[in-house]
């Protein structure tokens, strides 16, 4: 549906007809169906959808963070050409954090509150580059934090997570995601908890990543925000991909009814005639 098969191997991240199912007490529930999206190196792809659309599930599948009762039962996910899904636990660990980085919605929540930021950055570095000496590890930590635009790098490293503001914490989160120079970074609603001005700062940093050649999968429910940063946009509804295309095309000329609904739902001071269509009412 998206990128031709022979290009999958060159994509930073590729979902190929992925199907994800959850096994609950009431039976099996399909969370994601026939999902195919590819992120090229240096490309920013937005994954838009409401909560429950399956976008977060798909994103987590790429990094191997699915709950134990949730499984990829069809298709494949590959990173830089290597298949990731159904890999043994160990291989998943290698790829997680190394070739795929993730930035979380709650940055402060993604850090251990009892440990200083610097130590946590060091820890991630050491986990991926076991041969490095102490000084080298600390140098790299300082470098990656500095690359986030922090002026007082030392202060950030010595701080505890709760001492950082939302925006600062999120930039630390991004730093942790890119410390291994991954092929692709998945940003899972990472600006939803921030106010608009801080959001802009974080978006800038993410944009930088793309310039450096890292692929970015930008998962969000905010269509307009995605429009600011993405090259292409994919829209999900009830576990399925309903539309995908270059950002300007999707925003100005949406093909699918749901995309049009999403756009129409954006508050416009000049209109007051929006009524949501019953077609897209989600049941729990």
């Amino acid at each position: 549906m998206d990128v031709p098969v022979n290009e999958m191997g060159r994509a930073a991240l590729a979902f190929d007809h992925v199907e994800i199912v959850a096994r609950t007490r009431e039976g099996e529930r399909t969370l994601v169906k026939d999902f195919s999206v590819a992120v090229a190196p240096g490309e920013v792809v937005g994954l838009i959808g409401e909560s429950g659309s399956g976008k977060t599930t798909a994103a987590r599948a790429a990094i191997g963070l699915l709950d134990h009762n949730v499984r990829v039962v069809g298709g494949s996910i590959s990173v830089r050409g290597t298949v990731v899904h159904s890999a043994a636990e160990n291989r998943c660990a290698e790829i997680r954090g190394r070739d795929v980085g993730m930035v979380f919605q709650s940055a402060v929540g993604s850090l251990d509150p009892l440990m200083r930021v610097g130590r946590q950055v060091n820890e991630v570095i050491r986990a991926h580059f076991p041969g490095l000496g102490k000084a080298e590890v600390r140098a790299r930590a300082a470098a990656v934090i500095a690359s986030m635009g922090f002026e007082d790098v030392d202060r950030v490293l010595r701080a505890f997570p709760h001492e950082l503001s939302g925006g600062m914490a999120q930039r630390v989160g991004i730093a942790l995601a890119i410390v291994t120079d991954p092929a692709v970074v998945i940003a899972d609603e990472c600006t939803s908890a921030l106010d608009v001005t801080t959001q802009a700062g974080v978006i800038d940093v993410l944009g930088e990543l793309a310039h450096r050649g890292t692929g970015l999968l930008f998962v969000t429910h905010d269509l307009l925000l995605a429009g600011n940063i993405c090259d292409r946009i994919a829209v999900m509804f009830a576990g399925e991909l309903v539309e995908i295309g270059p950002v300007l095309d999707v925003l100005e000329n949406p093909q699918h009814e749901y995309t049009r609904e999403l756009l129409a739902a954006v508050p416009d001071p000049h209109r007051n005639d929006f009524t949501p269509s019953p077609n897209f009412a989600l049941t729990a």
Partner: protein, 306 residues
Amino acid sequence: MSRAAAHIGRALATLWLAVTAAFLLTRVSGDPAVRIAGELATDDILDGIRHQLGTDRPLIVQYFDYLWHLIRFDLGKSLTYHTDNLELIGSRLPASLALAVGAMAVAIVVGVPLGVISAARVGSLIDRVVSVISLIGQSVPLFWVGLMAIMFLAVRWGMLPAGGNESLTAYILPTLTLATIPLAQITRLTRSSMGEALSGGFISAGLARGLSRTRMIWNHALRHTALPVLTVIALQAGMLLSGSVTVEVVYSWPGMGRLIASAVELRDFTLVQGLVVVAALVFVVANLAVDLLYPVIDPRLRRSRS
């Protein structure tokens, strides 16, 4: 710094309340003289005893006298042993302390790993077995467990001494018996706080960044269990010291617990009062220590710098 001062202030206030309670409870709820001499004693005898105890003076006077003595570390004299209560209690304190510390150590060393394993494998066989044993441990009376242990291990099979604290092996049974309750609590608490930590965002985030599960458990989540364990230590400190009354009696352990048991039998109410004061002191100090340690472990509780 002022936070520490607040804790210390509160500890002192609590100590004062405790000391006052000890004073009131041994006096107001009945006439100690009658307890000592018996119901049939004549008024003369009762008056004599009251004078000796000082209970014929107005309550307020007795109270200030009591406080005055306390500040100078004078706990009065034992009615039966005719020695300084402070000396008497002091001679028994080490034995009780040894028992309490040993029991707590066992509880931590065994309980924390058990809690961690249970939390890491929720619902597994180990988890359920540990839960059941934990529950049973909190349901059985300690003195009965001790008695059964003595009956089998000491009397029938002669493996361990039945009482006293002469040899090192004599420490085994009493320590293990006393450890049952804190063990059960620490296991449960570690399990639940570890469970919470494991489902917290930073664990999955750490895994996403490539850190191993083992590392997340032992280097990160475990630290989070320190707080609740500390809480249990605070709660149990006094309990161990006083809950060890029955255990000490059963094992004839020469500690404070057995002292209070015999003081009870001998109606030595000044000794009883003195023991309550010392026990309260230990309790308050243990709680204070834990309160002061909290911010050291959890940086969120520290006063933020400018």
